[in-house]
């Protein structure tokens, strides 16, 4: 539309009508970015976060609001997500330098896979969200020698009916090595 120049005249409170520049489409790398992305950037794109800096209290309200609207955020995930948002998108305090992705991702490699392949959009370790918790899955198939192959198939092809009506979507693109590591890890949850 209009030349992308923001014009503010003098000290007036009435800015001349201009649309914002397009906000970043990904979240700033830093501690908590994977969890925040996995839980939030499902129903809405990342610009809903990057477009406006808010106070810590407003971020807290937003998280509560989003949980009411159906965001799959477990109670113990509220604090780390709030910390991330209030660190990198705080109206009242300057954001620290981004932490490069390699550093931010350091830690449990399986946790990274769970996020990367969007498993955590529906599953958590100890709590049923959209799908069963990983612990429930491990308990159900404990001692079942064919469970690993069956679960690998479930990840690949999806399914429904075992844990309720909500379907597990197919995930044909997950590399074999990742599927094996995920299945081993899931069956090891206690």
């Amino acid at each position: 539309m209009l030349a992308g120049v923001l014009l503010f005249l003098g000290s007036t409170v009435i800015a001349l009508a201009q649309d914002d520049p397009v906000p970043p489409k990904t979240l700033t790398p830093g501690k908590g970015v994977e969890l925040t992305t996995a839980r939030c950037v499902i129903c809405h794109d990342a610009t809903h976060i990057t477009r406006t800096k808010l106070s810590r209290g407003e971020w807290e309200f937003n998280i509560k609001n989003m949980i009411e609207r159906g965001a799959p955020i477990a109670p113990n995930e509220i604090a780390p997500i709030l910390e991330y948002l209030a660190t990198y998108y705080n109206r009242d305090a300057a954001a620290p330098a981004p932490v490069p992705a390699a550093t931010a991702s350091a830690g449990d490699p399986v946790t990274g896979l769970l996020t990367t392949h969007a498993c955590t959009a529906c599953h958590q370790t100890d709590k049923r969200v959209v799908g069963p918790s990983f612990r429930e899955v491990a308990a159900k198939y404990a001692g079942n020698s064919s469970a690993a192959a069956m679960l690998a198939g479930k990840i690949r092809q999806g399914g429904s009916g075992v844990w309720g009506a909500a379907p597990m979507p197919p995930n044909a693109g997950v590399p074999d090595a990742d599927v094996r590591r995920l299945v081993d890890w899931i069956l090891g949850q206690k």
Binding site: V13, I42, G57, D92, T115, H117
Partner: protein, 411 residues
């Protein structure tokens, strides 16, 4: 996706009910997997939805997209320089995805505190009730949010974004409700639409309005826009029109009306779409006695000239705009060409529908070259005048600050 899923939707918002209803959308998550080195992407649109590219393909090139998911988009003030807002300039504000609904299969059910539950196909609505046509304002509660300083959370509509005033075709909501027979103890009506989210847990968007407003003759069940079909993005095949009120009450993709004894309880009533009785300090929480957003306060915008337009000295400029108020009538519009020091009264065209905007104009002949601004402020018939800046509130609703446009006069 089974189109018939829309037939059996109820106002039951239990997770189980909703999970079953949107089961097919789960397939979306498969596309949500991300490669390790890539920026995370949200899951792809599920089946049974209309792609953003299709929606935006029918929109004006000047429409600005504020969010791709959920899709929100709007045009700047100068693109509203029409008597009625054309389809391609009507703002887009989804809460969830854009459902693709088969009109032939679609039914509207009326239930709850009624004497008899009834349901109608589109043909039956047209056949059973008088078909009416009215031009009326529809405006998102958060329209103009970028005017607030500091910026609250929510869609960053420009100060004149997030609203429009097309012609609507449909039947009166009161006729449809009377066909079911509203019980004496009822006081509210909630609309529910067929839009759904990417994940099964996404809460349905349900809003209720008081019966008084529901029975107002301009409150419609709409099946047409600007005398043509209702576009998919604007609620095809059926939507509510609650004229002049916060847009979220005008449920798109409407399939169920539930008559209630008390306001609907849900996140889109109790947490969102609330406004404090008075301004709050930026950053402070919503006061517990905050109100449900209903009628828009008085507001106006300048549609001509466009921002940064260029004129020659000596040339007369017919400065024109639109003014409206959620309930009531526009009594006066004033313009200022000296940043609000002096104001002159504009001419108003009042020969339009009750809830339509009013067109105002003032002929302005710049006295000297340079950068010049025009400010517009409207006053309603209850004596409310637009403020320079709207009262700050945590969700950034009802921005109705004075609109200001700058243009250049060349020697």
């Amino acid at each position: 996706m089974n189109k018939n899923k829309y037939l059996n939707c109820s106002l039951d918002v239990s997770r189980r009910n909703f999970l079953t209803r949107v089961a097919a959308t789960g397939a979306a998550l498969s596309a949500g997997k991300v490669l390790a080195q890539e920026a995370p992407k949200p899951p792809a649109d599920p089946a049974g939805t209309v792609a953003n590219s299709t929606v935006m393909g029918e929109k004006h090139a000047g429409m600005v997209v504020h969010s791709e998911r959920p899709l929100t988009a709007s045009v700047p003030a100068e693109l509203h320089h029409f008597a009625a807002t054309p389809n391609d300039r009507m703002f887009v504000r989804n809460n969830l995805l854009t459902p693709d609904i088969d009109a032939a299969q679609h039914r509207l059910t009326v239930k709850g505190s009624v004497h008899k539950e009834v349901s109608f196909s589109l043909d039956e609505l047209r056949k059973n009730f008088p078909v009416v046509r009215t031009q009326a304002m529809l405006e998102c509660a958060g329209a103009g949010r970028t005017g607030f300083v500091p910026r609250p959370s929510g869609t960053p509509w420009s100060v004149t974004g997030g609203m429009g005033c097309p012609v609507w075709n449909g039947v009166r909501l009161r006729d449809v409700l009377r066909a079911a027979g509203v019980q004496n103890h009822a006081g509210y009506v909630a609309g529910q639409g067929g839009d759904f989210g990417v994940i099964a847990t996404a809460a349905p968007v349900i809003r209720s309005i008081p019966l008084d407003k529901a029975m107002e003759p301009h409150t419609l069940v709409v099946f047409g826009m600007n005398d043509g079909p209702l576009p998919k993005i604007h609620g095809h095949p059926l939507r509510l029109l609650v004229p002049g009120w916060a847009g979220s009450a005008s449920t798109k993709w409407l399939h169920t009306l539930t008559v209630l004894d008390a306001p609907f309880k849900g996140t889109y009533m109790d947490t969102s779409y609330r406004i404090p009785r008075d301004a709050v300090k930026p950053g402070e929480k919503m006061p517990p006695d905050a109100l449900v957003t209903e009628a828009w306060p008085v507001k106006s915008m300048i549609t001509y000239p466009a921002q940064n337009a260029v004129f020659k000295l000596g040339q007369s400029v017919l400065v024109e705009g639109r003014a409206w108020v959620g309930e009531g009538a526009i009594a006066k519009v004033e313009l200022s060409f000296d940043e609000g020091v002096t104001w002159q009264t504009a001419q108003i065209n009042s020969a339009t529908d009750k809830y339509a905007w009013r067109i105002f104009s003032v002929e302005f002949k710049p006295a000297k070259p340079g950068f010049t601004t025009a400010l517009a402020r409207a006053t309603d018939d209850r004596g409310n005048t637009q403020p320079m800046a709207a009262k700050w509130n945590p969700l950034g609703y009802f921005w109705n600050g004075v609109h200001r446009v700058g243009f250049v006069v060349e020697a």
